[in-house]
């Protein structure tokens, strides 16, 4: 909460501040929650209306500028939409080019259905092929630098090439920043810090991908019981992720494990209120008989929920499998 008198606006003279204070308006929060004409009526009685109106106008434009004003639809439509491919053809085709930047993509699936593999694949591909930096928040210790190195090696093919491209590979490995956090408070603190950092130097940042594997393992412990604080924490994480994604055009990739739902069918551990956070929700499953992993969309703004893609997890990363429909049947 910021006190109005600390804002340093020239039109907020002592007499205007006094007028606001008489109505119980001391902070910007009080100001937006109050009926202005009540205050303006009080100002009218004291023949300070013009001074008061000026102060209100300046305060409103100050607040509006601080958070960004109204955007025109035409200007918004001219902005380019970028996609961050994962480097696995079948998945990228399913997503029509990859994860959309500025949105949150969520992977849901039971244990060992390829969620972490997909996260690492996305990180490796973004770091090496797209030459951007990646932040990988690892909440369950599943991150493996060696696995990423293998995936990078796989992108090149032969060992000779790996030797030739050593510098590029080192650079790629360096641009993946892994952070291990095991509770929601440190994740929140880190995301807030990231927001502050990006605010200062958004245009110099090469960060395009933020991965949290897994989001549910830090959120589930604080949910439950009759307390709403857990929900508030969860939604705070959702809000800061949305803010980071939309403000800095990051692709955010998160994973959510599953629990048993009705009739033993697996359902996402974070359902209900969390479901409004991710823009895209992808369901992963694994057929152990032929080692094929399938991915289908559960929620997408413009994709039908019926499409599927398939891939195999190989030593060198995810390989796309064509003819997914046949295999899934």
């Amino acid at each position: 909460m910021v006190l109005l008198r600390n804002l340093g606006l020239s039109s907020l003279t002592p007499s205007v501040l006094e007028l606001f204070a008489a109505q119980g308006i001391l902070t910007a929060e009080d100001f937006v929650a109050h009926e202005l004409h009540k205050v303006s009526a009080a100002a009218g009685q004291r023949s300070e209306s013009s001074e008061f109106k000026e102060a209100v106008a300046e305060l409103l434009s100050y607040l509006e500028n601080r958070q960004g004003g109204w955007c025109n639809g035409f200007e918004l439509s001219q902005k380019e939409v970028r996609y961050l491919p994962l480097g696995c053809e079948s998945i990228d085709n399913l997503l029509r080019g990859g994860m959309q930047e500025g949105t949150i993509t969520e992977l849901v699936g039971v244990s060992s259905t390829g969620k972490t593999q997909m996260c690492m694949q996305a990180a490796a591909h973004a770091a090496y092929k797209l030459r951007c930096s990646v932040i990988y928040i690892d909440t369950c210790g599943a991150f493996s630098a060696q696995r990423i190195a293998h995936m990078l090696g796989g992108m090149l093919g032969s060992l000779v090439q790996v030797e030739e491209q050593r510098d590029g590979l080192t650079l790629a490995m360096k641009s993946i920043q892994r952070r291990a956090y095991f509770d929601i408070f440190s994740v929140l603190a880190f995301l807030q810090d990231l927001h502050t950092t990006l605010q200062a130097c958004a245009e110099h940042s090469s960060l395009r991908l933020l991965i949290i594997d897994s989001i549910s393992s830090v959120i589930s412990p604080v949910l439950g019981g009759n307390h709403s604080q857990g929900h508030a924490l969860m939604i705070s994480v959702g809000q800061i992720l949305k803010k980071l994604a939309t403000t800095y055009k990051l692709a955010v990739l998160i994973t959510n494990h599953t629990v048993a739902g009705d009739g033993g069918q697996p359902k996402p551990a974070l359902g209900g209120s969390w479901k409004s956070v991710p823009h895209t929700r992808l369901m992963l499953s694994h057929d152990s008989s032929n080692d094929v992993y399938t991915i289908s969309s559960l929620k997408h703004t413009s994709l039908s929920c019926t499409k599927q893609a398939a891939f195999r997890v190989g030593r060198a990363g995810l390989d796309s499998v064509v003819g997914a429909r046949r295999i899934s049947e």
Partner: protein, 349 residues
């Protein structure tokens, strides 16, 4: 709700003839939007507050987008009947789910569909595409999109600031486009529910209002109420995500073929159209449990309950809609396509 004195006096001193009064009232009663399924059963016009309640993924945002398309497109353009109302629309995005490319795509589809309809009725050869180049469609879309304004908010404070700064925007729109905004869309109204609810437990100095759930919703309703009084032709549409629901239910509906039959039975049991509204709610369990504060509940004039997606057959995904205010037993079934929202009641009727 307090009304400013000058506004009250102005209201009292109005002296109009029956003719002008009738004209004014009838003008207001004119439906704001061209019939847009599934909103077609109720005559929505300026001053109404529509709430669309449903779980995430039940088609709420899509209906909002279609409403935007109907609002900003012109009624007719180069002989094409687009069915729009050529009025500005203002969108407050609290959920950060607004998808601009999707809106552009829907606009394209609407134009293409109108063209196909025209070709069909005139039995004309598709020579139009030569006469009407891509450039001119782009021009139509850009003039239409200029009638659209968007604001993203990440917390209740920003939402309130947006509502306080919306008046200059509406005034500007009125000057630029010659007509006042017809739609104010809020997606979704309960986005900050948990955050604001937690604020209650934070102590504040005496006499000061923290932005608690109730303070926020009272302020929101007050600001919106004043807006509607200034702009009587403004229709407010808000979505509300249902957060207390039977866990697992919506999810199993999406799980595919194995649960398909159960889901269909559930859907038909609940939506057979014969059960009473009470029955509907009981069978739904706590499908729609109100969580918004009383101030907002009292402000809503119309409520549509949405459910879905359900699977029927192999690839068809459908949604259902049912009016809660005004109460109705009829359940509409609709499908979402690129060309728009289409009713699909034939099977159940």
């Amino acid at each position: 709700m307090a009304v400013p004195e000058e506004e009250m006096l102005q209201w009292l001193t109005i002296n109009e003839s029956a003719k002008t009064m009738l004209k004014r009232v009838l003008e207001r009663q004119k439906p704001s939007l061209a019939p847009l399924p599934p909103l077609h059963r109720v005559n929505l016009h300026g001053g109404h507050v529509l709430e669309m309640a449903g779980q995430s993924g039940s088609g709420k945002s899509e209906i909002m987008l279609q409403a935007v398309v109907s609002c900003i497109l012109p009624k007719e353009w180069q002989g094409l009947k687009l069915g729009g109302s050529e009025k500005p629309a203002v969108f407050i995005d609290l959920d950060c789910h607004f998808d601009m490319p999707r809106l552009v795509k829907l606009l394209h589809h609407r134009v293409r569909e109108a063209q196909a309809y025209k070709d069909l009725s005139e039995k004309a050869a598709p020579a139009w595409s030569l006469a009407m180049g891509v450039d001119s469609v782009d021009e139509l879309l850009s003039t239409s999109l200029k009638r659209f304004y968007l604001k993203r908010c990440f917390n209740s404070f920003e939402f309130l600031v947006a509502l306080k700064t919306i008046r200059p925007l509406l005034k500007q729109l009125e000057m630029e486009h010659g007509s006042s905004a017809q739609l104010l869309l809020i997606d979704s109204i309960g986005a900050f529910y948990w955050l604001d609810r937690a604020v209650r437990s934070v102590p504040t100095d005496a006499g000061r209002k923290a932005l608690s759930l109730h303070t926020v919703s009272e302020a929101v309703v007050r600001e919106l109420g004043q807006l509607v009084r200034t702009y009587p032709s403004l229709l407010i549409m808000a979505t509300k995500t249902i957060i207390h629901h039977e866990p697992g239910k919506e999810y199993s509906a999406q799980m595919g073929s194995s649960n398909q039959n159960i889901d269909r039975n559930q859907a038909e049991g609940n939506f057979s159209g014969t059960g009473s509204a009470v029955n509907f709610h009981r069978k739904q369990g706590n499908f729609h449990r109100e969580y918004m504060p009383a101030a907002w509940q009292g402000f809503v004039t119309h409520r549509l309950l949405l459910q879905g997606p359900y699977r029927s057959g192999s690839n068809d995904v459908y949604f259902t809609a049912k009016w809660d205010i005004p109460p109705s037993n009829f359940v509409d079934r609709f499908v979402i396509q690129n060309e728009g929202i289409k009713l699909a009641n034939s099977r159940s009727m």
